[in-house]
């Protein structure tokens, strides 16, 4: 980053960023890179709507300064939905009725992916803990927990 350029990969493709290192990753994803599946809810790390995977780990993109992501790998819902794992989770959410307004769902799907990466056959407690940083105002969580369980069963072997 000696030349002031921040290089990272987003959903597998290389990106070079030259604007302020103090912009939030969330804003850059939405405004510069067109990744509008990433939502802004609270803007302070409490709702999980902006969740993405950074080097494979679930993080809140609203709390990340662009300068800290140099040479890291990012995956958003736009990338995950193209994978077998992502498709499986998204289908499970639809089948379980785990989607109402949909605003929290991209972050919730990222959290589900994170849960399944860590534990392909998660217990209910592991699922609830894994999505505990993602707030949803309409689904009621039970359907979301069911969706993750369904994804785990139907997608056995994917994780």
């Amino acid at each position: 980053m000696k030349d002031g350029k921040i290089r990272f990969t987003l959903n597998g493709r290389d990106v070079v960023y030259e604007d302020s290192p103090l912009r939030r990753l969330l804003d850059v994803l939405r405004e510069d890179l067109g990744e509008t599946g990433v939502k802004e809810g609270c803007g302070e790390g409490e709702c999980g709507a902006c969740s993405i995977l950074l080097n494979g780990k679930l993080v809140n993109s609203c709390m990340i300064a662009m300068g800290t992501i140099h040479e890291k790998e990012l995956m958003t819902i736009e990338g995950l939905r193209e994978t077998e794992q992502g498709k499986c989770i998204i289908d499970a959410f639809a089948d379980a009725g785990a989607v109402q307004c949909g605003f929290c769902i991209p972050g919730m799907v990222m959290a589900a992916q994170s849960v399944l990466q860590d534990a392909p056959r998660p217990s209910e407690e592991e699922i609830r803990k894994g999505i505990s940083g993602n707030l949803c105002r309409c689904t009621g969580y039970d359907q979301i927990v069911q969706a993750v369980q369904m994804a785990s069963e139907k997608g056995a072997g994917l994780w």
Partner: protein, 287 residues
């Protein structure tokens, strides 16, 4: 003008820290929220910023000279996956925010942020943990208790960084032989900041109190731990604890001086803190 520094090594970071006023940023979970600007504008930092979370030299958990040493760049989730940390610390870290935040936030950052409600502080202070602070000119050690001097205030010098958090191995070994209570009181299980938090530990030997430690977070400007009061309870038989507590409780009533804020009232904080202590002493008095 606010500048952003991305050092390639720890020695470069210390050079920068030695010559410029820069705010170290590792996980950024406190700083990015504190200096958040309008959406889409860069965060509005009061000084230049230096990111250090990527530095490999701050990424370690090692045992050294009687201490478990935790590098300044180690995240809360990395620690939660490390079976060597004390159980009291694990219990507190597990209730900080939620997994996504714990993948970013560092233990050193939680200490340096010096919030009265910082959840890692009560267990670290019960463990008599210390810090290794480094600068271009060398290093020094300081207890976590002496390091945090007030809300948002620490003893860190302008040219220093937290190199590591050091937890005595003898505490970690004896912790499991004692009786431990960690309690975070908050509005909901995940993501809520603490109304208060408490870490209590007692070690007994054949019915005699060998070591008793009590710390309370978010009930005063800094964590409340009263070593002199603890000493008054040390050496007693379990059966003598309840009556001795009646004399000692007043020390804590004086020291627990919480504030009203959006999370809780001072009255609730104080009453709950003392009730938790009463319950702990009750448990400790039973064999």
């Amino acid at each position: 003008m606010v500048k952003f520094f991305y050092p390639e090594s720890l020695s470069e970071a210390l050079d920068i820290k030695n010559s410029k006023k820069v705010l170290p940023l590792a996980g950024g979970t406190d700083l990015m929220v504190r200096y958040e600007n309008w959406s889409s504008l860069p965060a509005d930092f009061p000084s230049s910023v230096m990111t250090i979370g990527h530095l490999k030299e701050l990424q370690f958990v090692t045992e050294e000279k009687g201490y478990l040493c935790i590098g300044g760049g180690v995240t809360l989730n990395q620690l939660l996956n490390d079976s060597r940390i004390p159980r009291s610390l694990a219990l507190s870290l597990d209730e900080i925010a939620a997994p996504a935040l714990r993948n970013l936030a560092t233990l050193a950052g939680n200490i340096q942020n010096a919030s009265p409600a910082a959840d890692s502080l009560p267990p670290l202070i019960v463990a008599n943990a210390s810090l290794r602070l480094i600068s271009k000119n060398g290093s020094r050690k300081m207890t976590v208790r002496d390091f945090v001097t007030g809300p948002g205030k620490t003893s860190l010098n302008e040219n220093e960084l937290i190199e590591s958090v050091r937890i005595p191995l003898d505490f970690i070994r004896s912790e499991e032989k004692g009786h431990l209570i960690y309690r975070k009181v908050g509005t909901r299980k995940a993501n809520a900041l603490s109304k208060l938090s408490a870490c209590f530990w007692v070690l007994k030997d054949r019915g005699v109190i060998k070591d008793i430690r009590m710390s309370l977070g978010a009930v005063a400007a800094v964590v409340v731990r009263l070593e002199e009061s603890e000493e008054k309870l040390t050496g007693l038989k379990s059966g003598e604890l309840l009556s001795a507590w009646k004399d000692v409780r007043g020390d804590y009533e004086k020291a627990v001086r919480p504030i009203d804020d959006q999370r809780s009232t001072a009255v609730y904080r104080k009453r709950t803190a003392l009730k938790l202590m009463d319950a702990f002493i009750q448990e400790a008095s039973e064999d």
